[in-house]
Symmetry: C2
């Protein structure tokens, strides 16, 4: 049990999110025929500092070669491992409304790594429906048994805000540890459960704020990106 690669410790979400971005970039570079890349080369692709990339990677091991940079295939494999993408993840979507359906049909998830395997709803009119993709809408009451049957390990909450907390209770009770919340509400954290928020209203209101101060920025230089 001698720790070979330091993991878990206290690595920030910011770092993890960037690893995700690096990985995506490595896929592109590989497709372009590149086989090696320097931290500076990666940094140029986004608006990042090369030291930041090196630091991010260094949390997990020494993946580079001094004087040469990083081997793309090797680094890619490391990142896949670190991000837990070396095994598939089955996603259950709560709420078969517009958003839930879009998620179930969305094919933008990296090929094969994340699959939406079931929708859940409480509306009898929706239960039993089957999407073009073959995914079925189940009764929310059956969440626990179906989640276990289909090996669901990630849940996306796409229900109205007022029932989101109750929905979270149900999935946490069923042993789910990873949740992606789309409901416009700040869900109370549960111990041992990771909740990532996708909050469209917050994002839109950030843009709205920007538009309202923009006239005041007038001649001054205006900033951009996230």
């Amino acid at each position: 049990m001698a720790g070979m690669n330091a993991k878990a410790d206290k690595i920030s979400d910011l770092t993890i999110n960037r690893l995700s971005v690096y990985l995506r970039c490595l896929h592109e570079l590989w497709a372009e025929g590149a086989r090696t890349i320097s931290s500076q080369g990666l940094a140029d692709r986004f608006n990042l500092n090369s030291a930041q990339i090196r630091k991010d990677l260094a949390y997990f091991g020494e993946f580079g070669v001094r004087g040469l940079g990083y081997n793309i295939e090797e680094l890619r494999n490391h990142l896949i491992k670190i991000l837990g993408l070396d095994r598939p993840h089955n996603v259950g979507v709560l709420g078969a409304g517009n958003l839930g359906n879009a998620l179930a049909n969305y094919d933008g998830f990296s090929p094969g790594k994340f699959s939406v395997v079931a929708l859940f709803d409480t509306d009898p009119g929706k239960i039993g429906r089957r999407l073009p993709s073959g995914v079925e809408v189940h009764n929310m009451d059956e969440f626990a048994s179906i989640a276990s049957e289909l090996a669901i390990d990630i849940v996306a909450i796409a229900v109205p805000a007022r029932v989101a907390e109750a929905a979270l209770d149900a999935v946490v009770d069923a042993g789910i540890k990873a949740v992606l919340n789309f409901a416009p509400i700040r869900l109370q954290g549960r111990p041992g459960v990771k909740i990532n928020h996708v909050d469209l209203l917050v994002s839109l209101e950030g843009l709205s704020h920007f538009l309202s101060i923009r006239p005041m920025l007038a001649h001054a230089s205006a900033a951009s990106d996230e």
Copy 2:
């Protein structure tokens, strides 16, 4: 022109995003019949420090009353003003795929503040279609004229990654200054244009990472929330 309320200056996105969350909470409190709230009362609703809330608000003025807290209606009006929600915003959606359609039909945006008024696509098979909501799918070539006609001030990019950069060019050329990007790609910033990213893959991979380190956290305390 004596600056009555200090705005714009250098306020971080983190602060602006929290204002959005506070505002949502004020709506709820108001609906519950509350008429006044302390920073501590607000802080208890999320996992926040009360000093943070006071600091966030203090950037924009002195809205509270010592000893009493904040008047909910008054603070709400201030936040609405600060976030530019005192006038409506028209959103154009690029890409009439699953995600684009879901956005166009999504009614979760705060009542009336943001309206999706048009979809745009390059696929002749989709152009001309009209959604149940009445929103029409236009030819992307006509973006500039229709955006101006419909007074679109915010664009959501929901096209495949490989054409996202070109799509951004088109909207920026048409004078759009605020963009919500759903494509899994880090768009290059443009001067004077604010781009917010909603990156589902990054969010999912963050969850995947958490699941893969979770077994190692074992008996140790496991953390949560975003």
